[in-house]
Amino acid sequence: MKALEPLRINGRPFASRLFVGTGKFSSPQVMAEAVTASGTELVTVALRRVDFQAPADRTLSSLDFSRYHLLPNTSGARDAAEAVRIARLSQAASGTNWIKLEVTPDPNYLLPDPVETLSAAQQLVELGFVVLPYINADPVLARRLADVGCATVMPLAAPIGSNRGLLTRDQLRIIIDQATVPVVVDAGLGMPSHAAEAIELGADAVLVNTAIAIADDPVRMARAFKSAVEAAELARLAGPGHQSHQARASSPLTGFLGDEA
């Protein structure tokens, strides 16, 4: 199992390996409580047109931004040019140069376009952004993105919001094995056990949104994900034993009652 290194992204330390998205919550209050319960230190947000009928979006006014590192995403971008445009506007709106690069033109599966993502990543790195690219679990693409200067790679476990868990686990193993930047498994994690498994596989962090936001009790689910990620981290630190095909007895093999002399 991969040794656990303290999590640093672009030099910034994170004590929690659980990142949380702020979309789809039933109310701003629930979202803020769930984010607090998760113990996260990083939240993602999206950039959208101001609605003049309701100009003060209350969703984010419930969040205390001094407690979390803000990671705007480029959701809505259909190509590299739109992603760069959204990133620049996000920076103007927030002051942060961190960006979750997300180019997902297909509305049915929301899979990230690798060609546009790589192009946008190169442009954004050149413009001085700290780029965290959302990608399919493609090990070759992951290396290319690290090579052009991305701060992490964020391979998906399953389609966004599908809650299906680590469908891409074999590919994730390869990405983790070859990674030169932190690996954040993002999208499709539906249960705490999925998040735990991602960390146990060697991922450096996970990003969860839908599974927490649409649970009947999002605050409780946030706590569950927090516990799962912490459990997996502890397990890695504890130095787990190896797997074997044959049994290795737990009880002694000598001194049995009724043994012949």
């Binding site: 998205g21 702020t22 979309g23 789809k24 919550f25 979202m31 993602t44 947000v45 999206a46 950039l47 959208r48 047109r49 101001v50 003049f52 100009p55 003060a56 979006d57 969703t59 984010l60 705007p72 995403n73 959701s75 445009r85 620049r88 506007l89 996000s90 920076q91 103007a92 709106a93 927030s94 966004i160 919001g161 999208a187 990003l207 949104n209 839908t210």
Partner: protein
Amino acid sequence: MHIIVNGDRMEVEPTLTLVALLAQLGVSASRVAIEHNGKVIEPDILDSVTLGPSDQLELVHFVGGG
């Protein structure tokens, strides 16, 4: 004069500044980003940008997202 704001046509006074437009729309300048004719406007210069006829504006802000 008319301008386009978030894809919609709007009638405004001539030589309106960006900061005055925001006030008119009831939009707080904090955590809003503005694109004026394709150019991102830095928050500290809002009062120095004067709008012209057919100007295109995008007013965006953060919302919940994954």
